[in-house]
Amino acid sequence: MGHTRNSIEVEGLVREFKKGPRAVDGIDLHVDPGEIYGFLGPNGAGKSTTVLMLTTLLPPTAGTARVGGYDVVKEGPKVRSVIGAALQEAALDPLLTGRDHVRLQATLQGIPRTERRQRADELLTRVGLSEAADRKVKGYSGGMKRRLDLALALVHRPSILFLDEPTTGLDPQSRTALWDEVGRLAREEGVTVFLTTQYLEEADVLASRVGIIDHGRIVAEGSPTVLKAEIGLPSVHALPAEEADRARLVEVLARFGEPLGDSSKDVAVRLREGLAGLPAVVRAVDDEGVRLASLEIQAPSLDDVFLAKTGRSLEGAGENGARPDA
């Protein structure tokens, strides 16, 4: 298998559901061994459907995917032997304890009986659940459930880890703790991580490369730095003090760059001349007699990349373009 051992290779992957549009519409991607790949997109973009196909839980309609060097359609059991996955909902049994879960998972993954107890202790300690290990999961917080979910995905020491929106609904502290552990896995253990998220910050902090998916298609791919550099120019965001001035403000700002979509809050344009154009913007707004409630300059973000590629902002894009089954 050589270099493909911990990699993910996808070509023309498609998934169609009955009476529905294509949830995944011919995506190509490659994830290198030991890389953290962020799969970013709004709700319904096709992220989870892609994960289900790559983890062998959903057969693709067309295309090919090899995970860890194994074909996801023809070699499902081999794929499952090298991957770990924490899917979108932390699927745990509320009546079992954390330790019960790890032992069950270890047995089902074929870990020898003599190693199960030690492996359970080791994993529960690693995710900070050793004290809560013998409590029923129904008493766990959202963060604890997510950490247990991660521990379960690691029971059989997988070389590739799929995390489907692992921090959705978590408080900032739990989110940071999970990021630290995921980063450590990739850095110290060489685990390849395929991470879906709708949080820009998460992709920015964790991922060495990002794929942006929208309506089942990858619209941009690269490292966060490179993607943001492609957008290059900063944007100015102005909020009129009087709503009646909004139309005039739009007209004034449009002279200085490309408008950045519709927003009920502020009016934004990407500054054609970069920061050097800012004084002229301020003067023009003043000359027009438009009073502002706020004025902000923003460096390019992944949201700008998404906006540039799709014409929509990532925040709220799910509501406009979501597919119920994706």
Partner: protein, 258 residues
């Protein structure tokens, strides 16, 4: 122990642990049938005076019913547990392991059989406590427990099938009253040969549940009745085989993993 046996054991242990930690899922299946038996026995005791009634203790006659009623509860428990696993995504978690679908089904059913046996032992003890004499003796008790296990397997597999097809605990619970109707249109309260209403006797004769009850009843009040045993075990085995085949197919459909 082989890998598959370990997997079956682990799933069965989980099923038992879940049930043990959830009193609402094991207390009613024990209390309700026993209570119903005592109520029926109190109200219908005079039926034992009817010529041809097989015993002079209605309690002994009615003791067969909890065994089947308890197994019906197993249907619902097995089904709602499995449907819950589907709804929460726990089944996907299991599907991501190296476990086979057949091992998952066998484990679930193993747990149900064990719980069915525990229920049966409780019913037996209740019977002994109120003075019921087991006409078939100690060997009959063993046969009775084996039959209870088989019936639990059949109804448990039926519940699993419903869960796997619908993926909904509500749908499984919705089907439960329908199964209960089969109990009430059987020979659960009177021997078929003493039923005077023709249509009811015909329905009870066509109803497989009658043969399950009569098998248990024969061991308690008659002794060794080859025909009742053959019919009872035959019906229970047929239900089990059909329900397991349906469940195995439904499991394959549900686990769409490649």
């Amino acid at each position: 122990m082989s890998a598959i046996a370990s997997q079956i054991g682990a799933v069965a242990l989980r099923s038992i642990t879940r049930t043990a930690r959830q009193p609402a899922s094991w207390i009613p299946p024990i209390l309700f049938p026993v209570s119903l038996m005592f109520v029926n026995a109190a109200g219908l005791d005079a039926s034992t005076q009817l010529p041809g009634f097989p015993t002079d203790s209605f309690l002994a006659f009615a003791l067969a019913v909890p065994f089947i009623q308890g197994a019906l509860f197993s249907t619902m428990n097995a089904g709602t547990d499995l449907a819950g696993d589907i709804q929460t995504g726990f089944l996907n978690r299991l599907a991501l392991t190296s476990m086979r679908g057949s091992a998952l089904l066998a484990g679930q059913l193993g747990g149900i059989i064990l719980l069915g046996l525990v229920q049966a032992i409780v019913y037996l003890l209740v019977g002994l406590a109120v003075g019921v004499d087991f006409a078939s003796g100690p060997l009959g008790v063993i046969v009775l427990l084996a039959f209870a296990a088989l019936v639990s397997l059949g109804f448990g597999a039926l519940g699993s099938f419903l869960a796997l097809r619908t993926g909904s605990g509500e749908a499984v619970q919705g089907a439960f009253p329908l199964l209960f109707v089969f109990l009430f249109i059987s020979s659960f309260n009177a021997p078929r040969h003493l039923m005077e209403v023709d249509w009811f006797r015909a329905v009870a004769t066509a109803n497989p549940v009658s043969y399950l009850i009569e098998c248990v009843r024969s061991l308690i009040v008659i002794g060794w009745d080859g025909q009742a045993l053959a019919l009872g075990f035959g019906v229970a085995a047929a239900i089990s085989v059909a329900a397991i085949a349906l469940s195995a197919w439904a499991m394959q459909e549900r686990l769409t993993r490649t």
